[in-house]
């Protein structure tokens, strides 16, 4: 931004755009330019911990994901030669002719979101940042811990790439310090980021990692921060060392480790050795921002932050220019994002009249009707330059697609996303009467909207498009195996075609917006939100349950910067009441709320009447209160007061202050304890403010502040300094050693306070006139708002936003917002900003006549639904409700405006009555089935056939998958662990045709290696050994009546018994399996041949088959011998 002219509502801004030397309309973010670029440059995004190329993308998730040429380091710009990127870019996107562009734009208001930079700790010599490689900054640690960081998320230290075992964080580096290289203010974000880094480091490296944080005051004043701090300490074992670090040195000559020397909280010197030291360096304003502020005529304070007032926290000194984030005040992410919405509300108020004046509506052709019986799928396979086609055989995929059922057209494109291909696709839809389209290309996450738009322009419903991700999830990740990648691409295309076959047009969902808002609570937050909306032209109903507006702010005298709050509140109330678009309802309460975004209907009771209010959005600003202490004699002694009561007392009876000699202010009364494990955020600043005021009004008054951690975050640190300068005395106490308050005489006289001094470690006794308590800020809980609006609260009772960082004033319920103390304790300037933020978010919806909601929502089959209500109970968004249906009881009904299409209801519906548009069960199942089709076929065809399951060993049939017992029986494992048993081919062949099988009855118990059953031939008996121990479960009655089966089909119809094994698993180890069985059979055959004599040996040598009916041919060998030799039994 070069300059600005004009005035609020009509500015002309001059901008300078640097060339990136890459045409972002052509760049496909394939990364070839970076791969080929020969110049390596320190990677600033990774804080210089690794190198990137001069052709680069700042980080892998950059938006837009487009490359750029770093002209400061590019070889071509240095030497006039190279242009490797240009040569290799498949998209022709490199353009070295791009020039710097200076141009102007017309705007009504300006928002500065310039941020802050991290202070460079090099100048603070005692920490050795520029000397030791293993002393790093907080941001470098962030990058090291990141999966996209210099070490891919492995926790290692820079000097030697080894994982550290001990890490120290040093807080307040360059913050809360004096001196030329540091700032006096608190940077506000470092305590929390250090704890977060320590916790994540422990998650990466395991619990054994030693993490120590050296700090002065632990400032975890944000929502849920105190809990995180406690968990880090008690559950994860992060060590918190209250100290001042003196220096960081090398631990020993030649060592990369570091010695941290510090003074502990008793002032004693100590030191400890660490492998890695992280400096929690603070935030500061850069010179560029100061210069820009100067050019814009915007005032900055002595620290370089843009000046704002507490009561107008978004406005700069120049009208029409607004701020958000760390440019005005060190801010963490939730604060900065919230302020961003707030600034946009402030900016939009100036523009209210011009709203929509430059908007053009896009028009689409009417959707063609789809005949569900006629499936005509078109497949477009993308080369993506060479990104896909260098790995996947695109033409093969294209040709394969043509063979799939339903596909009538298939083609390939060099760049499917290019303008001309879009036209090709539209033409193909018309020419081939396509009614469904599959694009096989990059990823739906970036390009699905583009192709949906394309087919919509061709008259097809956008949901008739399906995407096959063959780049990001195929070509790019299987570069080494092109054939497999091509197979995968074909599978993915087949899955997409299969799914799209079941696709149906999904109607766009439009909700008419009722252009008014309901604001619940008439404190400063509620009034600010109401005015924010009304001044943009939206009618507001403001509900206040008390008889007047103003809420808690009416008790506050001044902001921490000294502005008068009472007159502000009075002025604000007047404006609200006078505004024609604000309907103020005092002494009113909400009775019921129904409906959803755009169409809420609330019933409000006021006096004896109740009225119905229709509204499109709602803002909850129901405020909070404070805890009425039960400790420290509060309520029992008139000189023990709470919050503003002391000021009120001194105002009413100024002589009391004149007579007083000493006052004690006690903090964290009921905060940060077991009952309320959160920090009330504003008490530290408020007590400092009171201390400073008292000291200023009466310098000889002794003022003591008893605190646990002094949390004067951000620029409020100035008050802390001022208080110390004025002689306020601070004692830190611990929850184990709380101060004690006692009365000297009755309930009106002086008081005694004892507190343990943490430096001297002795109790200090103070005689004082007044004790003022700063007690916990509480949420307003005597209302039914969470239930009425179906919005959640956290365990402390404060309303829970949809996302702490991304959506800090939204609820996950669309159209409902939160601000002020109802969200979390906060000072007035933050309440005002948050109210502006809520009104901005609400105005974003109200500004539209209709809102389009994502139509991928659940759909309920009311015929199948039995009204069980499971879906209603399980929906995280309150998007399903039960409605009474005459004669049927209840049936579930979906509220599309609330539904996010997650499908949890569908997955759990006992009746399977719920489905999701565009992700219907039949679509997903078809896709799954298609995905497995080829493997399933391959498995079926390669399934071992009965013939393949058997083999001949020495001429005898053997089953490969059976176990054998040396008594010539086979054993097959069955389902459920039962064993099927039979005799083998060999036994059948030596015994010859048998005429009877003597099998044991069911239930009989057989023992391994004992006689189990026998065969009879004529009257000769051949007993068999049971191969296992077990109970006979079943016998083959067919075989008993047809004994010839045993010979004919020994492994099939000739099976004998099923046994339930009772023996040990070890028994089965005695059996022969696989090769061992084959070798045993060969051995048995050799024994048989010996018995048969020389002529049979020749037979065997000639490869002839086995001898059938050995006993029949050579009875002289003897039945007994055969049985004894081979069946190992006695006749």
């Amino acid at each position: 931004m070069e300059g600005i002219e004009g005035h609020a509502g009509r500015f002309t801004v001059t901008l300078r755009e640097h060339p990136r030397f890459v045409d972002i309309n052509k760049c496909i973010a394939c990364g070839v330019c970076a791969e080929k670029c020969p110049r390596k440059v320190e990677d600033a995004f990774n804080e210089g911990l690794n190198k990137r190329k001069a052709a680069y993308v700042q980080y892998p998730q950059a938006v837009p994901l487009k490359y750029a040429i770093d002209a400061d380091h590019c070889i071509y710009f240095e030497k006039g030669k190279c242009r490797a990127c240009e040569k290799f870019c498949p998209a022709g996107a490199i353009d070295f002719n791009q020039n710097e562009r200076i141009f102007t734009i017309e705007v009504g208001s300006v928002v500065l979101a310039l941020g802050a930079r991290h202070l460079d700790p090099s100048a603070i010599e005692e920490y050795g940042y520029s000397t030791f490689p293993n002393v790093i900054t907080g941001m470098q640690m962030e990058r090291i811990l990141s999966a996209t960081g210099p070490y891919q998320g492995r926790l290692v230290r820079p000097s030697d790439g080894q994982p550290p075992k001990k890490i120290a964080w040093i807080q307040c580096v360059g913050s809360r310090s004096t001196g030329a290289t540091a700032h006096e203010y608190c940077s506000g974000v470092c305590c929390m980021y250090a704890i977060k880094e320590a916790v994540i480091a422990k998650e990466h490296a395991g619990r054994d990692l030693d993490a120590a944080i050296f700090f002065m005051d632990m400032r975890t004043h944000g929502k849920e921060f105190e809990r995180y701090y406690r968990r880090a300490e008690s559950e994860l074992g992060v060590r918190f060392i209250r100290s001042r670090v003196h220096s960081v040195e090398s631990s020993a000559p030649g060592s990369d480790s570091l010695k941290v020397r510090y003074a502990d909280d008793t002032g004693a010197e100590a030191e400890e050795i660490f492998d890695l030291v992280v400096l929690s360096n603070g935030l500061e304003t850069s010179n560029e921002v100061r210069e820009l502020a100067d050019r814009l005529g915007v005032a900055v304070d002595e620290n370089g932050f843009v000046k704002t007032a507490c009561l107008s926290p978004l406005e700069t000194s120049r009208k029409g220019i607004f701020v958000c984030g760390s440019v005005a005040n060190p801010a963490d992410i939730p604060q900065a994002v919230m302020e961003a919405s707030a600034a946009s509300s402030a900016a939009a108020r100036l523009l209210a009249k011009a709203r929509g004046s430059q908007v053009r509506e896009k028009e689409y052709p009417a959707e063609k009707p789809i005949d569900p019986a006629e499936i005509r799928v078109g497949v477009f396979v993308c080369h993506c330059g060479i990104n896909i086609s260098s790995v996947v055989d695109v033409t093969e995929v294209r040709d394969y697609a043509k063979t799939l059922p339903g596909v009538v057209y298939s083609t390939d494109n060099l760049f499917s996303c290019s303008q001309d291909t879009q036209q090709t696709i539209r033409d193909a839809v018309t020419e081939h009467r396509l009614n469904r389209v599959v694009v096989a290309a990059c990823t739906p996450r970036t390009h699905e909207p583009l192709f949906q738009e394309t087919i919509r322009e061709a008259g097809l419903n956008p949901y008739l498009l399906e995407f096959a991700n063959i780049r990001d999830q195929d070509a790019w990740v299987h570069q080494g195996c092109p054939e497999e990648a091509t197979v995968k691409a074909k599978d993915l295309v087949r899955m997409a075609v299969s799914k799209v076959t079941f696709s149906e047009p999904v109607e766009r969902l439009q909700i008419t917006m009722h252009k008014s808002a309901l604001v619940v609570g008439g404190g400063v937050a509620g009034m600010t939100a109401a005015l924010g909306l009304a001044e943009q032209g939206f009618p507001v109903h403001l509900i206040e349950r008390n008889g007047n507006l103003g809420g808690n702010a009416r008790n506050i005298r001044a902001t921490w910067k000294g502005e008068d709050v009472r007159s502000y509140v009075e002025e604000l109330s007047k404006r609200v009441i006078a505004h024609p678009d604000i309907n103020v309802l005092l002494n009113a309460r909400i009775e019921s709320v129904s409906g959803f975004v755009g169409n809420f209907l609330s019933r409000v009771r006021k006096g004896g009447r109740s009225e119905e209010i229709s509204h499109g959005v709602a803002i909850i600003s129901s405020g909070g209160g404070f805890y009425k202490p039960e400790e420290y004699l509060y309520g029992q002694h008139e000189r023990v007061t709470c919050w503003h009561e002391l000021e009120d007392l001194f105002e009413k009876e100024p002589e009391r202050l004149q007579r007083a000699e000493a006052v004690v202010l006690i903090q964290c009364v009921g905060s940060r304890d077991e009952d309320r494990p959160y920090c009330s955020r504003l008490c530290c600043t408020a007590s400092l403010q009171q201390a400073v005021t008292l000291k200023t009004r009466k310098p000889d008054l002794e003022v003591y502040v008893l605190y646990r951690d002094l949390r004067s975050y951000g620029l409020r640190e100035e008050l802390y300094r001022k208080a110390r300068e004025l002689g306020v005395i601070f004692f830190r106490y611990t929850p184990e050693n709380k101060p004690a308050v006692s009365a000297y005489e009755g309930t009106r006289g002086k008081l005694n306070v004892t507190v343990q001094d943490h430096v001297l470690n002795i109790p200090i006794s103070l005689d004082v006139d007044y004790v003022n308590l700063f007690s916990a800020i509480l949420p307003q809980t005597d209302n039914d708002l969470p239930h009425l609006f179906k919005v959640p609260t956290n365990t402390d009772g404060f309303f829970l936003e949809a996302h702490a960082k991304l959506r800090p004033v939204d609820f996950s319920t669309e159209g409902v917002f939160v601000c002020g103390l109802a969200h979390y304790p906060k000072p007035i300037e933050e309440s005002i900003a948050q109210a502006e933020a809520a009104s901005s978010r609400a105005a974003g919806l109200l500004a539209r006549g209709t809102i389009e909601v994502e139509p991928v929502v659940s759909v309920i089959d009311q015929e199948r639904c039995v009204g069980c209500g499971f879906c209603e109970a399980s929906c995280p968004f309150g998007a399903v409700k039960l409605v009474a249906v005459a004669g049927k009881g209840f049936r579930a009904e979906n509220i599309p405006a609330l539904c996010k299409g997650c499908g949890i209801c569908a997955a759990g519906c006992p009746q399977k009555a719920i489905d999701i548009y565009h992700f219907r069960d039949n679509q997903i199942l078809a896709s799954v089935q298609a995905g497995g089709e080829t493997t399933r076929e391959a498995k079926a065809s390669s399934r071992p056939s009965p013939a393949a399951r058997v083999t001949f060993v020495s001429g005898y049939l053997m089953r490969r998958d059976c176990m054998y017992h040396v008594g010539h029986t086979w054993i097959e494992r069955m389902k459920g662990g039962r064993l099927r048993i039979g005799v083998d081919d060999f036994a059948g062949k030596i015994l010859g045709p048998v005429d009877r099988l003597n099998l044991p009855p069911r239930g009989e118990v057989l023992r391994q290696d004992r006689k189990g059953w026998s065969f009879l031939r004529a009257s000769r008996r051949a007993p068999f050994l049971s191969p296992v121990t077990g109970k006979v479960f079943d016998i083959n009655l067919d075989a008993v009546s047809h004994p010839e089966n045993v010979l004919k089909d020994p492994y099939g119809d000739g099976w004998l018994l099923v046994v339930e094994p009772k023996g040990s698993e070890a028994e089965l180890k005695h059996l022969l399996y696989g090769e061992a069985g084959f070798r045993w059979m060969e051995e048995e055959n050799r024994k048989l041949l010996e018995l048969l004599g020389p002529e049979y040996e020749r037979l065997a040598a000639s490869g002839g088959g086995a001898v059938e009916d050995v006993f029949g041919i050579r009875p002289e060998i003897g039945w007994e011998t055969l049985v004894k030799t081979f069946l190992r039994t006695e006749v």
Partner: protein
């Protein structure tokens, strides 16, 4: 068959988490075996137990659900 056995895994990936993670693996060119076939869903809560059965019936050797 085991010599050339190429596992086939059906993967149900949540659009907002694992599917995006899989894309990022691509952008970062992190190589992994070509074993998975991805079905994109809007939330891993959408995965009906029946999808798992269907995956195995359809010929896959394993089912990966990632949210």
């Amino acid at each position: 068959m085991n010599d050339e056995f190429q596992p086939r895994i059906i993967a149900f990936l949540c659009n907002w988490c694992a599917y995006a993670g899989a894309d990022l693996a691509g952008v970062s060119r992190i190589q992994y075996p070509p074993t998975i076939r991805v079905v994109r869903i809007l939330c891993s809560g959408r995965v009906d137990p029946l999808y798992v059965v269907k995956g195995l019936q359809s010929g896959f050797d394993g089912v990966l659900v990632s949210g």
